[in-house]
């Protein structure tokens, strides 16, 4: 589990930021992106997949959330 910050990038897409790993990456897809359900599996541009416990409402961005890595390199 890690604290990650999700923010809106300059081009309008979501950006995933994990300070401890200097990981700043475009979010390609988000499992739930509805007004009443937000979160789930995040697919990053570099192939990593993270999981965020879905929230009951769409949050105001940026937001810091706890995330768990499902797929990705360990370097």
């Amino acid at each position: 589990m890690a604290n990650v910050m999700i923010r809106r990038g300059a081009d309008g897409g979501l950006v995933f930021y994990l300070a401890k790993k200097d990981l700043e990456e475009q979010i390609e897809s988000l499992e739930f992106d509805q007004p009443d359900r937000w979160g789930g599996e995040l697919k990053l541009h570099d192939g990593q997949v993270w999981h965020v416990e879905p929230l009951n409402e769409a949050p105001r961005l940026p937001i810091t959330v706890r995330a768990r890595r499902l797929v990705g390199s360990d370097d």
Partner: protein, 482 residues
């Protein structure tokens, strides 16, 4: 000498690594790379922010340097106590030339060194009492100080002093913020963690101080974040922003004050110059106060114009017109600078090795003068810095992270640049070798280099260094016959 091809650069790196033992070679190879603009992510070609290899000489600082020297030190109306033995504060005192306005020792304290001067008994019995007494003394002697920060040196963490408790008590007693900063030098691999710790201390002890208080705001309020006013840099940046119609509420932290920092959450946009040292607090303000932040670059007219337009895009048409007006106003001035110096500097090649933002930010300024940056590297960058650098650098140029003295010298001998820009520790080696050198941490006692005014000084300095006739007359003492 012509530019190296990709193969030549790769073989150069291999050759330089040849002298290392196998294990060291493997480790260092990850930090040296040939730039390839097609790579999107730097982690595929270069490793950074790792512990320096024991046994090689690198050029890094410590967490205390990052916090006290870089982030907190320039805040002029606070007193920054170097808590621990006397040396750390004394040997770093006033060396960075962050200019400020004020009367030193009365209402500003930037050039002074305050230390708790730890002795053996403080290590044995703890230094908390001494710190409490010291804060009391400061309050008596310097009543105009607006606050105090306690910058921990290594022993504080080792002996387990509770500076937080002392600070809270003292703060209540004197009625001013007293900020404990846990920036012991042994933390992390370089000064970079010191920046982060300092940012976190600002977040916890300063940023929220004026939440809910009234503030007369305008739609054009901005803050300059991460400009340390070296040689007056922040001043030559600030006038451009003000001329285009923005109101600069705060300067972080060069020539900055505590109240400016406390008021920063009231601005509409944060302008980040040094991404490395201040992105943490910008991200925090974005999350907590919904203030967007953008990176900008005020080195050289091309990048300045680009940045002014980028900043203006966040505001209405009056500011957009203001940006165009400012660019137009200085056009004759910077064109004259380019007309004068470009013929003298055209085609010259530069190698850089600095920290923070400069290895990528100054590239544009050199290009405006017709020069080319053929190698660059950072002391303490992270991957996100190299992500931003790859796009700025030409293909097949050298990238070196946390370079060692040996590697840097060998690269310079082979690439034969016309100018090396690096720090004071590298300066005299290259000067003795007869290589023109500029100290690019604090502009070699010159500056400012930011903004249009700074560009004129930058161009003059590069010209007087490169075209100085003395270099041909120099032969390194170690190369002379005995």
């Amino acid at each position: 000498m012509t530019t190296l091809t990709r193969e030549e650069t790769e073989s150069l790196i291999r050759e330089v690594l040849e002298v290392y033992p196998d294990k060291a070679k493997k480790d260092r190879a990850k930090h040296l790379a040939v730039n390839d603009q097609s790579i999107e992510q730097s982690k595929k070609c270069i490793t950074s922010n790792r512990k320096s290899l024991p046994g090689v000489m690198t050029i890094r600082g410590c967490a205390y340097a990052g916090s006290k020297g870089v982030v907190w030190g320039p805040i002029k109306d606070m007193i920054h106590i170097s808590h621990g033995p006397v040396g750390c504060g004394q040997y770093s005192r006033a060396g960075r030339r962050n200019y400020y306005v004020g009367v030193t020792g009365v209402n500003t304290f930037g050039d002074m060194n305050f230390t708790s001067d730890f002795q053996e008994k403080d290590i044995v019995f703890g230094g908390d009492k001494k710190l409490a007494k010291l804060i009391e003394e400061i309050e008596t002697l310097f009543p105009l100080a607006k606050g105090i920060s306690v910058q921990s040196e290594c022993p504080i963490g080792l002996i387990g002093d509770d500076i937080e408790a002392v600070s809270k008590k003292a703060s209540a007693a004197i009625g001013k913020p007293v900020v404990p900063v846990r920036c012991e030098g042994f933390r992390g691999v370089s000064q970079s963690l010191g920046h982060h710790i300092a940012n976190d201390a600002i977040r916890d002890w300063v940023i929220g101080n004026r939440d809910g208080q009234p503030f007369e705001s305008t739609p054009y309020d901005v803050a300059i974040i991460g400009d340390y006013n070296i040689g007056g840099d922040a001043w030559s940046s600030r006038i451009l922003l003000e001329e285009m119609g923005l109101r600069v509420v705060a300067q972080w932290s060069g020539d900055g004050t505590l109240s400016e920092m406390e008021l920063t959450p009231k601005v509409k946009l944060n302008l980040v110059h040094c991404y490395r040292s201040m992105n943490y607090i910008s991200r925090h303000m974005e999350e907590k106060y919904n203030i967007p932040w953008i990176e900008y670059n005020f080195f050289g007219p091309t990048k300045i114009a680009e940045s002014l337009r980028k900043i203006a895009a966040h505001f209405d048409d009056t500011i957009k017109e203001g940006a165009e007006r400012v660019i137009e106003k200085y056009k004759a001035e910077y064109e004259a600078v380019i007309a004068k110096y470009r013929p003298r500097l055209e085609g010259k090649r530069v190698m850089l090795y600095v920290g923070g933002l400069r290895p990528r930010h100054v590239i544009g300024a050199y290009e405006d003068l017709g020069m080319e940056v053929v190698g660059t590297g950072y002391e303490f960058a992270h991957n996100d810095d190299y992500d931003r650098t790859i796009k700025e650098m030409g293909n097949a140029t050298l990238l070196y992270d946390d370079v060692t003295g040996f590697e840097f010298e060998e690269f310079v001998k082979r690439v034969k640049p016309d100018l090396v820009g690096s720090g004071i520790k590298e300066k005299y080696i290259f000067q003795k070798m007869g290589v023109p050198f500029r100290q690019m941490h604090s502009w070699d006692y010159s500056g400012p280099y930011h903004g249009y005014d700074g560009f004129a000084i930058f161009a003059r300095d590069m010209d007087m260094t490169i075209n100085n006739p003395c270099w041909a007359a120099l032969k390194a003492p170690w190369a002379k016959a005995a």
